[in-house]
Amino acid sequence: MSATAQTVSLRPGGRLRRRRIVNRIMECIGTGAALAAVGVLGLVVVSVTLRAWPALSWHFLTTPPALFGPPGGISSAIIGSALIVGMATGMALPVGVLGAVYLTEFATRRVAAVVQLCLDVLNGMPTIVTGIFVYGLLVIGHVQSAFAGAFALAIVMLPLVLRASQEVLLLVPQSLREASLALGVSRWRTTLGVVLPSSLGGILTGTVIAVARAAGETAPLLFTCSIFNPAVSTDVSHALPNIPVLIFTYSEQPDPVLHEQAWGAALVLMAFVLIASLAARMLLARSRRKLGQ
């Protein structure tokens, strides 16, 4: 090579070298950006955990907020949040699943497109506007209530549940439906007995993701379920204490004791949300594999 390579050099020359360097730089930027995103996630999780640590105890989880004296805990907010999100799921899940069945099994293309567009717009609706809507619908003239809060959260959850259900229903092989119909089974029995059961896993996953999202939503609750008595209560016709609003109001106060409580509540909320969404992700991978795509 040394003797004859004077005409054809295999070493990258000026232009090629520049191209390679540019390529290298861009690759580094891509890698760096991905690491930065993971870094921010780590930073938030670690700093919430570190600051929440002093507040966290059994006492913190099992006593309601104290009005006077030493700080209490967040038990009533945990119960309130569970009730509100539970009710919201109860409203959004049946509507979402049935709506998805309509879109995948019955709707004509044109109708499906219109409904789909509405869902996408509803999904992008600022959640504070959803809160204002429910405030106007259920709170004006009445009082704030856990039910109103749950209704607002249900509107936020509906497009998520519906979209997720629709995606799994589309994954159910067409041949399964045809086989059932060919046996003389009617459409509705096929849908309820064959199609829905085989997509149950995916629907569950979508529901868990929607629950995780709803548990952390604050804006829909601000105008519907934010002025509450901190004691433990399960009366859904009144506003119940809940974790997101508690974190929000504490974070707006200058008192460091309340900040510590807010950190504690934030860790509880974040742990729930992250565990739920990780679990959903694993469930999803499993149910996708099962449907044999």
């Binding site: 191209r19 540019v22 390529n23 861009m26 891509g30 950006a33 991905a34 995103a37 993971v38 921010v40 996630l41 938030v44 700093s47 919430v48 600051r51 049946p94 979402g96 709506g99 309509y102 099994e105 019955f106 709707a107 219109v114 567009l117 509405c118 996408d120 717009v121 509803l122 999904n123 992008g124 609706m125 600022p126 959640t127 504070i128 506007v129 204002i132 809507f133 106007g136 004006i140 509107i155 519906l162 589309l170 009617s186 509705w188 999202r213 548990a215 604050t218 804006a219 601000l222 934010s226 997101p244 929000f248 974070s251 950190w263 934030a266 909320l269 974040m270 949300v273 969404s277 992700r281």
Partner: protein
């Protein structure tokens, strides 16, 4: 058969009738559920405008260009909040867009197989952090950090540009809000872009490589042009999220009713102004002006989403086929 129907055919026809009723019932029930979603959207638009009507008829469209928000003299205008919304979202997009595209390119083109799934889910997990937690972190950790380390430095070095004004001691302001919003929209834009990049036919990519391009040249020459409209839609979806975020922004933006040119200064967005006054407004006119803000936010949010959906549906054959 007509004369004396056997029991089996009778049972069969009875079953057929039952099936027909079942089919109709299921069809009707599911149609109702699907219509509930449409009805929710229509009802939201109707109700919010209905609630805002006192302010709309009092101020008219001049509300949108009004620059004062003065509860004492009952004079209200939306421009400071529209400005705050625009600037904080702009900051968020300027930071988030290049980052998100770079992340998506890394995940779709560069990352080794094993890393891809793990890193991809971690980036999406970032989107799962509740906004109120991110806002708490923003007000107590990020804000003070920026106020002590970044903002004085930026003011010193770049202070000759008026937007880099004097920082606030608490670090709450437009810039902090933009940064928090960027953290919220990076995962959204990145995961949409990753799907887009993965959908580019590998024939095209291999063709480019066969012509001797480097990886970056292939990305610039093949992937980015092929997915341009999808990227635009992803950015608009991110913008829609940034415009509408109320809680985290309320926590870190500081609050203010004036148009400030200093990006480190306190301000308010449409959504954060509404959220900040949740404990009630002093006068009826103030309350209904807040609802007018909500109506403006609603219109902007719906328009942004419609724009994104139209771009996606028009240009993305993969999605249209579903």
């Amino acid at each position: 058969m007509e004369a004396a129907p056997t029991t089996t055919s009778l049972r069969a026809s009875r079953r057929r009738i039952g099936d027909r009723i079942g089919d109709l019932a299921l069809r009707g029930l599911t149609l109702l559920a699907a219509l509930a979603a449409v009805a929710a959207l229509v009802a939201i638009v109707y109700k919010v405008f209905r609630l805002a009507r006192p302010a709309i008829s009092h101020f008219g469209l001049g509300f949108i260009t009004g620059t004062t928000w003065d509860p004492v003299h009952k004079e209200f205008g939306a421009l400071p909040f529209i400005y705050g919304t625009a600037i904080s979202s702009l900051i968020a997009l300027l930071i988030a867009t290049p980052l998100a595209i770079a992340i998506a390119l890394y995940l779709s083109e560069l990352a080794p197989r094993g890393v891809r799934g793990v890193l991809g889910s971690l980036v999406e997990t970032l989107a799962a952090i509740p906004s109120v937690v991110l806002g708490l972190w923003g007000i107590l950790v990020l804000g003070p950090f920026l106020a002590h380390h970044f903002e004085p430095w930026a003011h010193d070095k770049l202070g000759f540009i008026p937007i880099f004004g004097a920082p606030v001691a608490t670090g709450t302001g437009l810039f902090t809000a933009g940064l928090i919003l960027a953290i919220m929209i990076v995962p959204i834009v990145a995961s949409i872009c990753r799907e887009l990049f993965l959908a580019v036919p590998s024939d095209l990519e291999e063709g480019a490589f066969a012509l001797g391009t480097t990886r970056w040249e292939m990305v610039r020459g093949v992937i980015l042009p092929a997915t341009r409209s999808g990227i635009a839609a992803a950015i608009i979806l991110g913008l829609g999220r940034a415009l509408g975020e109320a809680i985290a922004v309320t926590q870190v933006i500081g609050g203010g009713t004036k148009i400030v040119h200093n990006i480190f200064g306190p301000s308010d967005t449409l959504a954060s102004k509404i959220a900040a006054s949740y404990q009630g407004a002093a006068s009826g006119l103030e309350a209904s002006s807040l609802l007018y803000l909500a109506a403006i936010l609603l219109v902007i949010g719906v328009l942004a989403n419609l724009a994104a959906q139209i771009i996606v549906r028009r240009f993305d054959p993969l999605r249209g086929a579903r």
